[in-house]
């Protein structure tokens, strides 16, 4: 049995019929082909599938698609304006915070949620905000620096 939901994804409203057990991650990746949201563990441990649900970062593997009914979802594909990168994306490029890139979309979205709530975080606050997102490549140093740089650029 499928459930009808209305969900706004990256500013576009979608009317969808989804099975009760479909996760938001599956909805994004498999149904809408928004593959920038990466699947790392399907258990909410790694943060690679982080999206913003009504502005708050959530692991989309632990959210059922039906729970997103009536919500606003932002994925990494919805962040840049055309060819113009969001300041956080630009900061990740400029500081070298990207290596394999698998954690990058989640890292950028939790950084966005942080900077919206706390435009001038100190280093400990940044590290705390990133702590649910694992990265095996960077040691986090350049990611922290990217968030610091973005904080200066963001309006």
């Amino acid at each position: 049995m499928k459930h009808d939901i209305q969900v706004t994804i990256n500013g576009t409203s979608h009317q969808l019929a989804v099975p009760a057990n479909r996760t938001l991650l599956e909805l994004l990746r498999d149904d809408l082909r928004l593959t920038g949201t990466n699947k790392g563990c399907e258990a909410g441990d790694c943060g690679a599938c982080t999206v913003l649900l009504d502005g708050d970062p959530v692991p989309s593997c632990l959210v059922l698609a039906v729970q997103a009914d009536g919500c606003d979802v932002l994925t990494i594909e919805g962040l840049a304006s055309g060819n113009r990168l969001h300041p956080i994306q630009q900061a990740f490029v400029d500081t070298g915070a990207v290596q394999c890139g698998y954690c990058t979309p989640g890292m950028i979205l939790v950084s966005l949620a942080l900077l919206r709530k706390n435009p001038h975080p100190d280093e400990a606050e940044i590290r705390g905000a990133l702590s649910g997102n694992l990265c095996r490549c960077t040691g986090y140093q350049k990611i922290v620096q990217a968030v610091q740089a973005a904080a200066k650029e963001m309006p």
Binding site: R29, R33, L34, T35, G36, T37, N38, K39, G40, C41, E42, A43, D45, C46, A48, T75, I76, E77, L79, A80, L85, Q89, F92, V93, D94, T95, G96, V98, Q99, C100, G101, Y102, C103, T104, P105, I108, I126, R127, G128, L130, S131, G132, N133, L134, C135, R136, C137, T138, G139, Y140, Q141, K142, I143, V144
Partner: protein
């Protein structure tokens, strides 16, 4: 300062924008028309004979297109080294670990594939289980493989110099041991593969591999397809670190399912399967005896090692050599004895991981140097400086240090941390919980030989100049896995050709493009960098030759810089060239203008005169190594080296370690991209810190992993990592392109011992078993204080 325009800069990675906007395609992102979903049935038991497999119910399930077992295969054995091919696609007579592959299905959707697995009935006859690597060689231990006596996969016995004579001359001798736990690669992207088999018998496999070349060969061999009909493509890869550096059963199963069904098939591991497949760092049991003279000269090292390899050989035959050979430097050591054993157990298979085979050996040796320095009353950093090798030195096992900035690295971390004024304790321990520790290490910059015996070029590169003019495409089999190799290829090409980076397109990671052995042994910058430089010089020469012929200007007076042709000493009359170009491009809004000929015009002219312009490059190391058995392992055209200082605080009541800072200096020869060199150093420190403090794959008494997930298998988070300082040292390696050599693996070498030495400095405690959990640290603190605590007797003796 140098005169490079692109190299040695901090230019952004060529893949960065695709990755920050979510457009980078990883293997599991791919969906093709008619694609089936594969799934693998793994053994639930650690050691058992397979009595029967009944697939009839699974085959009858609607939506199931194929069910395969060993009966459907050609029974060809494979592995990493041809000397130890001991794996088959599916288990045939028995299973050897929880996770061994027994059967597989392909179905129209993932749910049906999982249901079909449940319908496969396998009857097992249990066999005695061997889980303890230290018991593997004992008489009566269960036998994992019939053909391997005493469960020994590989043993190494080396003696360089004269250890007994040196022992007699040494003033201080001490013996210590250190063991570790099996680590997991914990890359964020689980392995995935997608296979397509066409009507002409061509197989294409998209795979999250580090080594398209070895996957290509193994697919052709095991599936008996002509080599030229197999193509392996590596989309973006979400980290590898070693465990993705060999062909896996999963890749073979995906290909076989596609061949049997005639439809594309994709298999993606879940996180538990990543742990089961493993191929990550071995568990090591090291025991070392080291002697020094009163003046601090290292006299000898006697080293005994047992490595638990799990159920199959994988890289283990090389790992056990690396564990010994990479102690030959970076200190002058004339006398070294090594006895290493890599043994089988009924556990998931260990293989290569960042710092292949050498990390825990390095840790114990560096700890011993600190303790010996204390015994003779010398600063441990001074002791290292006293013994450090210099450029031009050769180790006792015949490794040639063609460049070695080890001294510069040690001096750099000494200065940056204020070591001399801040580390004042020496032998009088205040045990106040704050400590600093130093360590050093080195690593190969590309394995000297391929994994199979061959004279093959280790890599080839083609640079095709766009026939329309204006840009070039680099075609390479090199594997970008996050380390930045595509950017390195683009930077070298832009530098040599004298054109902007944005006019260089990189195609890589495809076995149809070129031969490249792949991303392992820290080889890509040195080897593929060489080939790229050569190919770019070739392309540049061809373009300038045409220009010299057409204008009458001598070849050596022509140069290309910033996308324009420059002429030394005279003006070039290129009016006719420009006129022809403009004539070809009537209606184009952007036209070349100004008083310099553009690269677009020059490269278009070259095509018009000569047809396609393709620059070719290749690299193969010169013959390397001594004549003793196993001398090939550890050889390299160059060696990178690293020093680090770790600073930490220990809660003396709980044993909890809080890292304050790690300061590292690495000699990469020459930094092609300074930002990426730092990034590699920082990533290495975090993997080393994880292994030092928290990472441990745990098993129950039936060989089942207890923590096959990223919640209970801990890797460092942003809150665990301290600030990292990374200092680049450049020794200008004569065998490297532009003087460059490795950074990816050498930078992990000092991290674990720097932490261990800092812990001792902070507490006076020596821990002999990693990781440094609060429990182990607290016990060691109490032992150092002369207190006993309940359970102390439980800690087993190593080796």
């Amino acid at each position: 300062m140098n005169s490079y325009r692109v190299l040695n800069s901090r230019v952004a990675r060529v893949d960065a924008v695709e990755k920050v906007v979510g457009k980078a395609v990883y293997t599991d992102d791919m969906v093709v028309s008619g694609m089936l979903y594969g799934a693998i049935l793994h053994s639930p038991v650690a050691h058992a004979r397979i009595l029967s497999i009944d697939t009839s119910l699974a085959k009858a399930l609607p939506g199931v297109k194929a069910v395969l077992t060993h009966a459907d295969t050609g029974h060809v054995k494979f592995g990493v080294s041809p000397a130890r091919y001991d794996e088959t696609i599916f288990c045939e007579d028995k299973v050897r670990y929880v996770g061994d592959e027994v059967a597989a299905v392909a179905a129209t959707d993932p749910g049906t594939a999982m249901k079909a697995l449940d319908l496969i009935k396998v009857v097992y006859e249990p066999l005695p289980i061997l889980l303890d690597g230290l018991r593997a060689m004992e008489p009566g231990a269960p036998k994992v493989h019939e053909r391997f006596h005493r469960n020994i996969c590989q043993e190494v016995h080396w003696h360089f110099g004269d250890v007994d004579a040196a022992r007699a001359q040494a003033d201080f001798v001490r013996t210590d041991s250190l063991s570790s736990k099996m680590q997991d690669g914990a890359f964020l992207e689980p392995q995935s593969a997608l296979a397509q088999y066409d009507h002409n018998g061509y197989l294409t496999l998209y795979s999250s591999t580090q080594t398209t070349h070895y996957v290509h060969r193994t697919l052709a061999m095991v599936l008996d397809i002509p080599l030229h009909k197999v193509r392996v493509v590596k989309p973006y890869v979400g980290g590898g670190f070693g465990p993705k550096a060999a062909c896996s059963s999963m890749e073979l199963i995906t290909a076989l399912l596609a061949m049997k069904t005639g439809r594309p098939v994709k298999i993606t591991f879940d996180r538990e399967q990543v742990f089961l497949h493993s191929r990550a760092r071995h568990q090591f049991f090291h025991k070392m005896t080291t002697g020094i003279r009163r003046d601090g000269t290292i006299s000898f090292l006697e080293h005994h090692c047992i490595m638990d390899g799990g159920a199959y050989s994988s890289f283990g035959i090389a790992s056990v050599y690396y564990a010994g050979s990479l102690l030959g430097g970076p200190y002058r050591l004339a006398n070294m004895k090594y006895d290493g054993y890599r043994v089988f157990t009924n556990k998931p298979v260990s293989g290569a991981q960042r710092g292949h085979g050498a990390v825990i050996a390095r840790a114990l040796f560096e700890v011993q140097l600190d303790r010996l320095a204390e015994e003779i009353g010398m600063d441990p950093l001074e002791l290292r400086l006293k013994n450090v090798m210099e450029t031009g030195d050769t180790t006792c096992n015949e490794l040639d240090m063609s460049s070695l900035g080890m001294r510069e690295c040690l001096e750099a971390v000494r200065e940056r941390t204020g070591w001399n004024s801040r580390r004042t304790k020496g032998s009088s321990h205040k045990a106040d919980g704050h400590g600093m520790g130093v360590a050093a290490g080195f690593f190969v910059s590309g394995a000297g030989y391929p994994i199979y015996r061959s004279r093959t070029h280790h890599c080839t590169v083609e640079i095709k100049v766009a026939e329309v003019g204006g840009g070039v495409t680099v075609r390479s089999g090199a594997a970008e896995i996050g380390q930045g190799s595509d950017t390195m290829l683009a930077m070298i090409t832009a530098e040599v050709l004298g054109i902007p980076m944005e006019d260089v397109k990189v195609l890589s990671g495809d076995s149809d493009l070129s031969v490249d052995l792949g991303a392992y042994s820290s080889r890509t910058t040195l080897m593929t960098g060489h080939a790229t430089r050569q190919a770019a010089m070739d392309a540049r020469k061809q373009i300038l030759e045409v220009l010299a012929e057409k204008t009458g200007i001598p070849l050596d007076a022509l140069d290309i810089r910033d996308g324009f042709v420059h002429v030394q000493g005279s003006q070039m009359d290129f009016a006719s060239i420009r006129k022809e170009y403009l004539g070809e491009h009537r209606g184009f809004p952007t036209q070349p203008h100004g008083d310099l000929l553009t690269f677009a015009e020059a490269s278009r002219l070259a095509f018009l005169e000569r047809g396609s312009i393709i620059g070719k490059g290749s690299y193969r190391p010169p013959p390397l190594g001594g004549s003793f058995k196993g001398a090939a392992v550890g050889t390299s055209p160059a060696f990178g080296c690293s020093a680090q200082v770790a600073e930490l605080n220990v809660d003396m009541e709980t044993g909890q370690i809080h890292m304050e800072r790690i300061t590292g200096a690495h000699d990469c020869g020459f930094a092609i991209n300074r930002t990426q060199v730092e990034a590699q150093m920082q990533g290495a420190m975090s993997m080393g810190l994880g292994e030092a403090l928290m990472e441990e794959v745990k098993y129950d008494d039936q060989g089942r992993i207890l923590n096959a997930n990223l919640a209970e298998y801990k890797i460092p988070t942003a809150m665990d990592m301290p600030p990292l300082e990374s200092i680049i040292v450049e020794s200008h390696e004569p065998n490297g392109p532009f003087g460059a050599k490795e950074v990816g693996e050498g930078a992990i070498m000092p991290t674990i011992p720097a932490v261990l030495n800092a812990l001792y400095d902070a507490t006076g405690a020596m821990v002999t078993e990693l990781p440094l959990t609060p429990e182990r640290v607290l016990r060691a603190i109490k032992k150092a204080r002369g207190e006993t605590s309940r359970g102390d007797g439980d800690t087993r003796e190593q080796v």
